[in-house]
Amino acid sequence: MRVKPGQPDWQDRDRFILSKGHGAAGVYAVLAEMGFFPVEWMLETYCQDGSVLAGHISHTGVPGVEVSTGSLGHGLSIACGMALAGKRDGRPYHVFAMLSDGECDEGSTWEAVLFAPQHGLDNLIAIVDYNKIQSLGRVEEVLNLEPLGAKWKAFGWSVHEIDGHDFGQIESALRDIPFETHRPGCIIAHTVKGKGVSFMEDKLAWHYKAPNDEELRQALVELRVTE
């Protein structure tokens, strides 16, 4: 993405919208590492009283956060508005929106899925984090989305399905934008919730739980962050 950490309101910056707002910590960490704000904010204040870093992504007082979300099914519409504005103004930026699979239950998501191809928004990329688990159970049992890629394709999107944990595949999918002229792009990223931590992988409970000290130690070892 083309961004300038020292100039978060640069007009031609690429925009990233975390529509699955519960993934806030991941975005804050990246922004802090890139220098949008001090890493200490993340390490010391995340979700603490008096902090600016809320559990669902929030832009107030946080440089680099484009849009606040948390209620599902909002982000893709806002991304469409930004992409359309960019097209109409002849701006070169791209807009990326990351969605959860669960929020593909929301009707408003599909309003936006219909809209983007109608207006040829090939400067827009939607990424669906398809980990197959939603708030109360497995996607296929709650509200089956399959065939998910075929649905986006049928709505007029240019779809890549990738292993969402393979950085090579992520990079190669995002290398050439637009995927197709006049079509918005969709990446269905097949993922495993809690990937890399044996006791967390593919477990619903870890959508809600925080690890205790021992679990944290073991997780960091498994992720090769510490010995």
Binding site: Q11, H59, T60, E66, V67, S68, T69, G70, S71, G73, H74, L76, S77, I78, A79, C80, G81, M82, A83, L84, A85, G86, R88, D89, G107, S108, E111, A112, L114, F115
Partner: protein, 313 residues
């Protein structure tokens, strides 16, 4: 009022290229001229108000002034969370325009009656809420909200409302317009009942009662100074609105009076009870059913006027 709105929006768009108009597949015979003149600043999103509002927020965050337009509850209640989270939380330059406040779409039925919108939108942080009283106010309000940074809600009548004001009346957001002087009772009106309110005041005048009339076109921020002055200088206040008495103009005025220790004045809230209409009827008919015709308002005011008479004595 919608004719006045679209005329002014067209004029503003000629001068300010940030102005965009988004519709949710409604606006037949209203929006065509704008669409033809400004094709790259007009958008019909289809029957999808949630998407319309999110798109408007996204465009506004890229520097545009975006008007969303639909009728009755569609651009407000249908997409309420998009208004709250996407528009208001980001303080985005989105102006929501709804045509057909109150019972303007009478016979079309309950779905097309906007009777809680003012209460609900008034509670949203950052939202300015405006309900013009006649076509002159509608025109001036359109220009005013285009200039006002941040979210605004413009609640319009449909068509054919009588003109009350002379052209060039002094219109400022958050400032009530004194339409008629009087020192016995104050009638405060918002939205399309302004004409009836003035008619009521004229009838009262013929009966020897001088009523002050305030057009409270802006519900938020409310002109509390004008309310308090009315409380000090006249002996009773009545609010008149085509909206639920819960949460609209009557509630807003009551909030000001309840917190003002220095004044004590009787208040009567005239408006719609918290019920759904049980019968079919046109605009005028439904106003009569809920005592918002000139005669209905006069009748509702009788007990208050009686009391006021005794107090003066």
């Amino acid at each position: 009022m919608r004719t006045a709105f679209i005329r002014v929006l067209f004029e503003l768009a000629e001068k300010d290229e940030r102005i965009n108009l988004i519709v949710g597949d409604l606006g037949y015979s209203v929006v065509e001229r704008f669409a033809d003149r400004f094709p790259t600043r007009y958008l019909n999103v289809g029957v999808a108000e949630q998407n319309m509002t999110g798109i408007a927020a996204g465009m506004a965050l890229c520097g545009k002034v975006v008007f969303t337009y639909s009728i009755a509850n569609f651009p407000t209640l249908r997409c309420l969370e998009q208004l709250r989270n996407d528009v208001c939380y980001h303080n985005a330059d989105v102006k929501i325009v709804s045509v057909g406040g109150g019972y303007a779409y009478g016979v079309l039925g309950m779905s097309h009656h906007a009777s809680e919108d003012l209460a609900i939108l008034r509670s949203l942080p950052n939202m300015v809420v405006v309900a013009p009283g006649d076509p002159i106010e509608a025109a001036l309000a359109t220009a005013a909200i285009a200039k006002q940074p941040g979210p605004c809600y413009l609640r319009l009548g449909k068509t054919g409302e009588p003109t009350v004001h002379p052209p060039g009346v002094d219109f400022r957001l958050g400032k009530a317009i004194p339409v008629r002087e009087g020192d016995e009772i104050t009638l405060i009106s918002t939205g399309g009942l302004l004409y009836n309110t003035v008619q009521v005041a004229e009838q009262l005048s013929r009966d020897g009662i001088q009523a002050r009339v305030l057009s409270m076109h802006t519900l938020k921020p409310l002109d509390s100074e004008a309310v308090l002055a009315a409380a000090r200088e006249t002996s009773a206040i009545a609010t008149i609105e085509e909206h639920s008495v819960n949460g609209g103009l009557g509630s807003a005025v009551a909030e000001v009076l309840a917190e003002a220790c220095e004044v004590k004045v009787p208040l009567k809230r005239l408006g719609l009870p918290s019920v759904f209409v049980s019968e079919v009827g046109g605009h005028a008919y439904l106003r009569e059913v809920f005592s918002l015709s000139v005669e209905g308002i006069l009748k509702s005011l009788e007990p208050m006027l009686e009391q006021a008479k005794h107090r003066v004595k």
